[in-house]
């Protein structure tokens, strides 16, 4: 790690090894390509139900997970594909889940809205807005009681910040000084409702004061800014000093879900945010700081395409659950 007092490069460049940064870029491409692949598969009728794509928000997911090990936990929300991949999941098993296959992470029972990978510490997406917040606090409590230094990163949206679960969770985490980092991905809307119409304060981070915890708002499309905010919050959590709230300002390029007609926002707004693509920006930063060159970046991007292709093939080739096993996994098997 370089000395920050003399090194003027962005935090992420200074702080992480080149291999880590390249891996991060890879995973960001993987998220993008995975979601495009899922979108395409949906159109082809291979995925049913609905999906919430995080295209445009990859920087927030990846940068927030930079310092997490498999022993650290995350809880995710309905817009959770990025978190899952950022935490280390395999896209093949994710596709298998989306295709409803027994080889999927949830054995075909969960689908997109419940995607999880317990082995890499992802306790799961959640269909209930705010549902993951108290669970994250519980995971942090368990780590503390079990004497581990593991932290939990809790992802949720701006919309979730108006749920009672947000309030109760942040208060409990603070009173008990638990190692949890609340990461609000503020993409400006909860479905169709802008934060201005739903939330009494301008920045979600302003609410941190109500829980006596640090609160910070960062450009969620700036990989380095996010990773720095998380670095500080995670250090605080591991040191036993308690929770933090980090707000990543970002934007979803796609509609809320497959049924959104985008009546609540303008094309201009969407396009202005597409110009702030977090992946292109991170790639450019890495190149600018000599972490890789254009060709290497292209190779990484191509790897992501290949991984997604392989993932889809794996998922397609996998078997569906047996119809007789509808009630399997409801209770532990004896």
């Amino acid at each position: 790690m370089a000395d920050p007092t003399t090194d003027n490069r962005p935090f992420a460049i200074r702080h992480y090894a080149p291999a880590q940064l390249r891996e991060a870029l890879k995973r960001m491409y993987l998220i993008r390509r995975f979601e495009e692949g899922a979108e395409d598969s949906y159109t082809r009728g291979m995925i049913h139900g609905t999906m919430h794509l995080s295209i445009g928000q990859e920087g927030s997911a990846m940068a927030s997970c930079m310092e997490l090990t498999d022993a650290d936990k995350i809880t995710s929300n309905h817009r959770g594909h990025g978190h899952c991949i950022a935490k280390g999941a395999d896209v093949g098993r994710m596709f298998a889940e989306f295709f409803g296959k027994e080889t999927g992470y949830c054995h075909g029972r969960g689908g997109s809205m419940h995607i999880a990978d317990v082995k890499t510490g992802n306790l799961g997406a959640n269909g209930i807005v705010g549902g993951g917040l108290p669970i994250a606090v519980g995971a942090a409590l368990a780590a503390k009681r079990l004497g581990k230094s593991d932290v939990t990163v809790c992802f949720f949206g701006d919309g979730a910040n108006n749920e009672g679960a947000f309030h109760e969770s942040l208060n409990i985490a603070s009173v008990w000084k638990l190692p949890v980092i609340f990461v609000c991905e503020n993409n400006g809307y909860g479905m169709s409702t802008s934060t201005a119409r739903s939330t009494a304060v301008q920045h979600i981070s302003q609410r941190a004061a109500a829980y006596a915890m640090p609160g910070v708002t960062v450009d969620g499309n700036d990989f380095s800014a996010v990773s720095e905010a998380l670095h500080i919050a995670i250090a605080r959590a591991r040191a036993g000093e308690g929770p933090s709230l980090v707000e990543n300002l970002t934007y979803r390029w796609r509609g809320h879900s497959k049924s959104d007609r985008n009546r609540y926002r303008t094309k201009d707004e969407i396009e202005s945010w597409m110009a702030k693509d977090p992946i292109a920006r991170f790639r450019a930063d890495l190149i600018a700081h000599g972490i890789l060159d254009d060709a290497a970046a292209d190779a990484i991007a191509a790897e992501a395409v290949a991984d997604v292709q392989k993932g889809i093939e794996f998922a397609k080739a996998s078997a569906a659950p047996h119809l007789s096993e509808v009630t399997r996994y409801v209770y532990a098997e004896a």
């Binding site: 049913h48 139900g49 609905t50 889940e97 409803g100 296959k101 949830c106 075909g108 029972r109 969960g110 689908g111 809205m113 419940h114 959640n126 269909g127 209930i128 807005v129 705010g130 549902g131 919309g159 979730a160 108006n162 749920e163 009672g164 909860g190 479905m191 169709s192 409702t193 119409r197 739903s198 939330t199 049924s259 959104d260 007609r261 009546r263 609540y264 569906a320 659950p321 119809l323 096993e325 509808v326 009630t327 409801v330």
Partner: protein, 343 residues
């Protein structure tokens, strides 16, 4: 009662006005809002978005954001605001985006709305309507596909309805708004696009009345909401083999129309109850028990059968999902066994 008088579907012909279930609900809301300035509509994304299922589409253009109010994502607070407003002069129609999310507001629905009149000795009234988009079949998995209506059947102070047709969807919502007490309406997501005859203007579907949708002498099938349609289709198939099922549209979960059900069972001697909720402790348990404790017991020629959902959360995989709730085939098979007393 006559089959022809209780159609569930209508052809797009002549003087019959055909609307979808969603359109019928929207029409009821618009009529009520026109007639009564105290009626407001509240919920998540019910304004410009038109609601997750587009049921409130365009209401905001017609009645403005003061009467068609997008709430923050705050089910407990939102429902409680509706309760408080109902207590003090408004008639709110509160949409839960999915009925599953009402779990966050059980406190306000069950501890407050349902009990306030009683706790205050009749000195207060809570005329709120909760709209509950419900049921499986959309691939939305365990937290977006539940059928929890039986819970509310267990709660004195509430009325709990379940329209199966566009006509009833409109009439029940208008009846609910005319009712001084809290009413929950479980709308099935898969029915929103189904179409049928809907009378013009304002009319009230009586609360607490079941309806014989098809008459028959061999067995009684009680089913509501989407299960009514599956039961009718099963009955159609059975009729080919000379088995004549009487199919009753439950319509009201609380109060239950004892008379219509018991009259039928006294006639047929056999009862099959079909419902989408989890079988154990579901709607069918109450219907079965109500019959088993009545004088109709002595008319029973066979065990009372229930078909409900598998004992599992609703799975994501579409085939598993389908297998987890009653379908035409399983209803047909159960009815056939019951008719032949193979149970």
């Amino acid at each position: 009662m006559n089959v022809a008088s209780n159609p569930v579907t209508s052809a797009d012909t002549g003087d019959q006005r055909i609307l979808s279930y969603a359109e019928a609900i929207r029409e009821a809301m618009a009529l009520a809002m026109q007639a009564d300035p105290t009626v407001i509509v509240m919920g998540e994304d019910i304004g410009v978005y038109g609601g997750a299922f587009q049921v409130t589409l365009d209401l905001i253009d017609r009645f403005g954001p003061d009467r068609v109010m997008d709430t923050p994502i705050s089910e407990l607070g939102g429902a409680g605001v509706a309760v408080g407003a109902a207590l003090t002069g408004l008639k709110p129609i509160f949409e839960f985006q999915f009925s599953d999310f009402a779990m966050l507001a059980m406190e306000q629905i069950v501890n407050q709305a349902a009990k306030l009149r009683y706790m205050l000795g009749g000195e207060a009234s809570v005329p709120v309507v909760f709209r509950m988009p419900s049921g499986s079949g959309t691939g939305a998995a365990a937290q977006h596909s539940q059928s929890i209506e039986a819970w509310f059947g267990h709660v004195p102070g509430l009325k709990v309805l379940q329209p199966a047709t566009p006509e009833d969807a409109k009439g029940m919502l208008l009846a609910a708004l005319a009712d001084p007490d809290p009413v929950m309406i479980f709308e099935h997501k898969l029915l929103y696009k189904t179409r049928g005859h809907v009378p013009e203007g304002s009319y009230l579907t009586p609360i607490g009345k079941a309806l014989v949708r098809r008459s028959g002498a061999d067995l009684t099938i009680v089913a509501g909401s989407i299960m009514l349609h599956r039961a009718l289709e099963a009955a159609e198939r059975l009729a080919v083999d000379g088995i004549h099922a009487e199919v009753i549209d439950l319509r009201s979960i609380r109060p239950i129309d004892h008379d219509t059900i018991l009259t039928s069972v006294r006639k047929t001697g056999k009862l099959l109850v079909v419902y989408e909720g989890v079988k154990a402790y579901g709607v069918g348990a109450e219907i079965s028990a109500m019959v088993a404790e009545s004088d109709a017991f002595d008319y029973l020629d066979a065990p009372i059968l229930r078909l409900g959902a598998a004992d599992a959360p609703v799975p994501y995989n579409p085939d598993l999902e389908r297998a987890s709730v009653p379908q035409v085939d399983t209803i047909e098979a159960a009815a056939r066994r019951l008719a032949r007393r193979e149970v």
